[in-house]
Symmetry: C3
Subunit: 273 residues, 3 copies
């Protein structure tokens, strides 16, 4: 059993800051700058490297890898496969973010193909996870989910069993499952979906935690820390809208500690919903 | 006659927020994140998709499309043509933003070629519109205009007649024309040209309005809302410079209403200047 | 002798704002938006153009060029070579930023190859400069330096002699050398490495100054202005973290003057450390 509580999440954060893992990002153009800033604020060291000519070499010097399919093209897909295989061969954790899976056949096929390459962790919204699991009726509006995260729980469990990955479905409530067990995490804020690429940056944060914890604990810690910081950041926006949310999120992650976690996040083990 | 006033613009904004249109962006690397955040803050749902392998499928599920040539390469140009043709075949509105038209022959040729594909709306600065209309002496410094918007009015009208598009020239005063009629919109602030990609994001906003209004009304509403929000955002920068302008602009768009429009924008019909 | 003081740097800034140079950026995806905003806030006119089909034409209309290898791919490398050669043939200054040199063989080879094309100025962190100079034991964690800037001084001097470029090594203290002389510049803040792409944007700023001053003076002025503005911006973050640093940096650059330089920066000539 993966019993993880807020104290564990806080200790994982401390270890991350000490280790300062180098996180290799193959991510979309929209999310690159935010992902880098979020990782730096959290205490990790980010790099964005996607050329077929160097991705494998870069995996070799990195602590973990995130592959995000937000803005696809064939050469990048080739690099994603090379990087994933290299990470596997070196036993390094990697996170798959199947952005917009289900929106177009190309996108769905690429996500499905990457999911066969034994990702350590898969993180997506409800529509993406349902689509990737092959669920009928997986909704979605482009890259935004039209389904609540709880609706995707069965799909998440099936996907975890099929791929061997820890699967996270994020939304108003976040869920993490590994085929055996499911944990629910609350936190975050309704303002977050109004600022772009926050989910993508969360996948990068999950990869950072995967450098210092086993996959299930890493994912739960990442979601708890990010949810708490997201809520803190939204409060600091003072009801003025989402404009300053990315900057506030970086500040909140920079200052995140156990007190912030206890103020804004909760982890519920053995969720059956 | 296209009589549009601030009340109409405000109603269009309400309808946009209700419809939450999915706006497909093929835009430049510099503008992607801001365009996404501006669209989210306004109440639309953005997606950035540019691969030849999926652009047509994505047009099919989108409400409208923006094609922005800011950072060009041949595969993207190919995708732009596919997406524009698909939008036409499905009767979906699309906006052409001819960034830097006139700066290099490649850029001018690509813009001219896209302009033949019956864009619903063309939005650019004075130098770009003059160059695209084939005017002699269209100035420009890279992607910034060296001409005032009023200087481009004849070019805008000629371009509207030639392409069938509604043409918007934006600058200190914005103009919208369709070959028959011209409307002038005031708003905005001198701080706006000091923050990158605000014009590109305006093209994305125009595409969002085109999902809920006919092209002329959509363009006028977009310029009025954006101009008012831009002015509001600039005021909130308190004379400290343009650093926080993108964030303030998102907040202002998020909170935009008729009162903000009346405070900062004006629409003058039947402009002859 | 290149005697440069804060008064000279301030005058160079005034001249830059008057000239409003068009700075051509071939830079990485992470740094594009920030580089554009930093250049606009400073008073320059930025453009991001990288297609093989148009880079040479764009160099022809630009005042200076920056080539940054942060996110590489073969077509971009081809464009970088074309742009550098065109700048040389027209006598226009260009800045090389060898991001992550040493992290992978591909990256190191591309940087070394560009360094043979007579860059006017090379700016990097200690690990990058040491790697590019061929120093044994050049550390580095991805794109972040693991060495202090003073450790790279010998490498910087050797690189300046080998390439003919003015070489800047930036870090807690910045150094500029041309093979004969070395100047040290203090300024900046420990918060700066916690926000992404600030070094890349500094290379763009250096290119802007190179449009109005000879290479050595331009580099020193750029580092002094940027260091002072960076320190000012960090102070305005009020200890809340790096989230608002990019916006504050733009505001500080927008308002930079001799008083800000005197408050936060110092130039020490004839450094021998």
């Amino acid at each position: 059993m993966n019993i993880i509580d807020l104290n564990d999440a806080s200790r994982a954060l401390s270890d991350l800051r000490t280790a300062r893992p180098l996180v290799h990002n193959i991510t979309n153009y929209v999310a690159m700058t935010l992902s880098a800033n979020v990782l730096l604020a959290l205490g990790a060291s980010p790099a964005m490297v996607h050329a077929v000519e160097e991705v494998e070499d870069f995996v070799s010097i990195s602590s973990s890898l995130v592959i995000n399919i937000g803005t696809l093209s064939p050469r990048w897909v080739e690099a994603m496969g090379l990087a994933a295989r290299k990470a596997n061969s070196l036993g390094k954790p990697w996170v798959l973010d199947p952005v917009g899976c289900g929106a177009t056949p190309y996108r769905t096929n690429v996500a499905a193909s990457l999911a066969t390459l034994r990702p350590t962790i898969i993180r997506g919204n409800a529509s993406e996870i349902m689509s990737l699991a092959g669920a009928a009726g997986a909704g979605g509006q482009g890259v935004d989910s039209t389904a609540a995260s709880a609706q995707a729980l069965d799909s998440a469990r099936a996907l975890a069993k099929k791929t061997g990955a820890v699967v996270a479905v994020t939304g108003e409530v976040d869920y993490v499952c590994d085929g055996h067990e499911t944990v629910g995490i609350t936190g975050g804020d309704a303002l977050m979906p109004l600022s772009t690429a926050l989910g993508c940056a969360l996948s990068a944060v999950t990869a950072a935690f995967a450098a210092v914890r086993a996959p299930f604990a890493a994912t739960v810690a990442a979601l708890a820390v990010y949810g708490a910081a997201g809520r803190e950041a939204a409060l600091r926006c003072n009801g003025n809208g989402p404009g300053h949310l990315p900057a506030e999120l970086c500040d909140a992650l920079h200052g995140a500690d156990l007190a912030m976690l206890e103020r804004h996040a909760a982890i519920r083990a053995s969720v059956t919903a």
